[in-house]
Amino acid sequence: MTDLVDVALLALLALTGISLLVLRNLFAVVILSGIYSLLSAGLFVTMDAPDVAFTESAVGVGVATVLMLGALTLVGHEEKKPTRTRILPLAVVVVTGAVLIYGTLDLPPFGDPGNPIHQHVVPRYLEQMPEEIEVDNVVSAVLASYRGYDTMGETTVIFTAGLGVLLLLSGIRRRSRGKEGAAE
């Protein structure tokens, strides 16, 4: 039954991606990207990752959509019709996709408990976590305690991104170069 939900969600994701590629009205494209994030959050829930689903739906649907809509009101929301033919990008994409699919043929099957990813560090975390930390949510324990350095680095990355946006966008606007060049 969950396989059926997985197949349906993946098909809807593919449809949303294709319509996102084709549409030229960028307001619709941004809303479709929010729908894409929401569908992937549903997929994360069926794959037993509720923390990730929480974060993806809050970040991808809430914050990212609002920020992109705010940027679109500043820059203009219609995309031009394409002028050149696009054989080279299509060829590059097809070749990369073929190489990746050739690579996935070697991957272990989906959902098998004997996969190498479940073997080395994770059993140690799951067994010794009740004695060492005694917190029920294993993901929080790993994030905050066993892999605390990574989380500190991530917090610093968020801080740096906020700093960068503030440096770029809180100054005074100057006249645009395009208008100055045309006037000369």
């Binding site: 894409y36 992109m68 679109l72 989906f110 294993v138 790993v142 990355v157 991104a161």
Partner: protein
């Protein structure tokens, strides 16, 4: 058939990745390129989480009776990745807003034309 059921997840993820990659490579409006990048990143997250899933497992929150838990490590890595992705998207949007204020447009082909016109115009006054 077993092979197909075990791997179609990865093939759909590769298709979504290539969709996002094509939007990034071939479209010239910068906000649409950022949306394509978001699609690409989200498909990578789906790939990681589907690597960590165990059939018959449950979410990695400890309960009293012994059950099979899905992998918590992939969730931890993707939590970090999601927030870093939104940070880079926000920074990219700030740069796009500034480019728009400098050039009057965010279409890469039009900006190319403006730059080439300025280059041709510049060496003349001696």
């Amino acid at each position: 058939m077993e092979f197909f059921l075990g791997h179609y997840n990865y093939w759909v993820v590769v298709f979504l990745m290539m969709l996002g990659f094509y939007v990034v490579v071939s479209r010239s409006h910068m906000v649409k390129v950022l949306v394509g990048l978001t699609v690409f990143q989200t498909s990578v997250f789906i790939f990681y989480i589907s690597l960590g899933k165990i059939r018959g497992g449950t979410a990695p929150v400890l309960v009293d009776e012994p059950v099979l838990y899905s992998n918590p490590l992939t969730s931890v890595l993707i939590l970090t990745a999601i927030v870093v992705a939104i940070a880079t998207t926000a920074l990219g949007l700030a740069i796009v807003v500034r480019i728009n204020e400098a050039y009057g447009t965010v279409d890469e082909e039009e900006i190319d034309a403006i730059e080439r016109a300025e280059e041709v115009g510049a060496p003349e006054p001696h």
